[in-house]
């Protein structure tokens, strides 16, 4: 599995380097426009990174299914389950890496904005802000952030597995059908409709559970534990969904694929 992930990154490092260099160049150019330019960069680069990420994780799997270079991967003695899991892990790691890159850009541009507006960087203010976050005096604390991140991660994984499953179904059960991209998208919509239907049934069943959960803390706000209790069923559904879809994709790659 580690070898599979390693070669996924080797295959994309050149493109990623080019994106990074372009972003750096754009950032340097916009820095010359002052604090406004810096803010513009943060907005534009967030959108650009998001679009790049979506396109790249789809292309990563689509190329292997639809181009002859996919033989390199599918000739190897790795099970379908291992192949689809490696793709999923690569996509998640890539997501975190891009998030880290964006965070670094925020730090650089944030520092620049503070300096360019004539202020000095007050590290004690930063420490105080972190302290406030940890203590919960802002209305949310680190617990809230972690629960939110966990939910976001579960959502991301479920989304990627849905996309990959749609592509796998198209390339295995419907491998003869033309307009593959469009057909994959239709399958993606159908899977989402089915999952929404099943989820709504599940939430109907567990509604009484919500009524028993005490989510309000002593301060009158939703506690981190309370937030976790609210999001827990959703996270569980997303994880079950991701595991099931990964299993389906792995099975189809193993038993039905026609490259």
């Amino acid at each position: 599995m580690i070898s599979l992930i390693k070669y996924e990154f080797i295959r994309k490092y050149k493109l990623a380097s080019m994106i990074l260099i372009t972003m750096l160049a754009l950032n340097l150019f916009l820095l010359t426009k002052g604090a406004g330019g810096s803010m513009s960069f943060l907005v534009v680069s967030l959108l650009a990174l998001f679009v790049f990420y979506l396109a790249d994780i789809i292309k990563m799997y689509s190329d292997d299914l639809n181009k002859k270079t996919g033989y390199m991967l599918f000739m190897t003695p790795n099970s379908g389950y291992k192949i689809i899991s490696s793709k999923l892990l690569t996509a998640v790691i890539e997501g975190f890496a891009l998030l880290l890159v964006y965070f670094i850009f925020i730090l650089i541009n944030g520092t620049y904005i503070i300096i360019s507006t004539g202020n000095e960087i007050d590290y004690s203010q930063i420490i105080k802000a972190v302290d406030n976050l940890l203590s919960g005096s802002l209305g949310f604390n680190l617990g809230h952030v972690l629960v939110f991140l966990l939910a976001a991660l579960a959502f991301l994984i479920a989304f990627i597995t849905t996309v990959y499953t749609a592509m796998t179904i198209r390339k295995s059960i419907f491998s003869e059908i033309k307009f593959g991209g469009l057909f994959s998208f239709i399958i993606f919509l159908l899977i989402n409709w089915l999952l929404s239907f099943l989820s709504s049934k599940f939430y109907d069943i567990i509604t009484p559970y919500y009524n028993t959960v005490d989510t309000i803390s002593g301060t009158g706000r939703v506690s981190a534990g309370g937030l976790a209790m609210i999001l827990l069923p959703m996270i569980a559904v997303l994880i079950i969904q991701a595991v099931a879809l990964t299993g389906i994709s792995g099975y189809l790659l193993e038993k039905k694929i026609n490259l």
């Binding site: 080797i10 033989y71 000739m75 190897t76 003695p77 099970s79």
Partner: protein
């Protein structure tokens, strides 16, 4: 003991039957020629054995095991298409094979590439068709696999490169190996073949010892090929 048994194999596509009840038994120590015109099912048969296509019906047994990802450890397949990652250098391809296949002989591949003057720092997208064909042959045959499937190894290759490729194939022959070569360029490859399989419209037309066939029909395999497929 290396063995490949194909039993009643059928592969249907949406509007075409690519393989019709193909039954073949390949034994170790022989070089087989899978012969037939374009569209006769040679590539489909190889892709099914390599695990890239799934059969509609029938069975394939490799070393007494049903086809699965595990049987890919026994099979080294060289597709006719250029399937190598274009952004890689030759050395990256070798490293990929070394990491993915336990039986890949890295030093052996280096020696072969050195002897045919393909440099490690060449980029795949910059290779000529002859260089690509030689590289594909080298990496497929550098695996110490039981079964080698070489799909049209001489396609789009000049005369000198053809000789090199046939030399590499000859070097890789072993008593415990099965080598299956598909081609429609029969005359070039004929001298290598122990057994020939003629595929016609997805069905086995002929499956016999090459030398016996030559003596029986008093002509070369190429001549028989022309006789069988000449009217198509």
């Amino acid at each position: 003991m290396s063995r490949l048994i194909i039993n009643e194999l059928t592969k249907k596509y949406y509007n075409k039957i690519a393989l019709r009840n193909v039954s073949l038994n390949f034994e170790q120590g022989k070089i087989y020629g899978l012969l037939g015109p374009n569209g006769s099912g040679k590539t489909t048969l190889m892709k099914v054995v390599a695990g890239l296509h799934k059969q509609t019906s029938g069975h394939v047994l490799i070393n007494d095991q049903d086809l699965s990802y595990k049987t890919k450890t026994y099979v080294s397949y060289m597709p006719t298409e250029n399937y190598l990652y274009p952004s890689f250098k030759v050395v990256d391809i070798l490293k990929f094979y070394k990491d993915m296949y336990k039986d890949f002989r890295y030093e052996y591949a280096l020696d072969l590439l050195n002897s045919i003057n393909v440099k490690l720092d060449y980029k795949i997208s910059n290779l000529s068709s002859g260089e690509t064909a030689k590289l594909k042959t080298v990496i497929a045959l550098s695996r110490d696999a039981d079964i080698y499937l070489l799909d049209e190894p001489l396609n789009g290759v000049d005369v000198l490169a053809r000789d090199t490729i046939m030399d590499i194939i000859t070097k890789s022959y072993g008593e415990n190996k099965i080598i299956i070569i598909s081609t429609h360029l029969v005359s070039e490859i004929e001298k290598l073949l122990d057994t020939v399989v003629f595929l016609k419209e997805g069905a086995v037309e002929l499956f016999c010892d090459a030398e016996e066939l030559r003596q029986e029909r008093q002509m070369s395999v190429e001549g028989i090929y022309k006789e069988v497929f000449g009217n198509d």
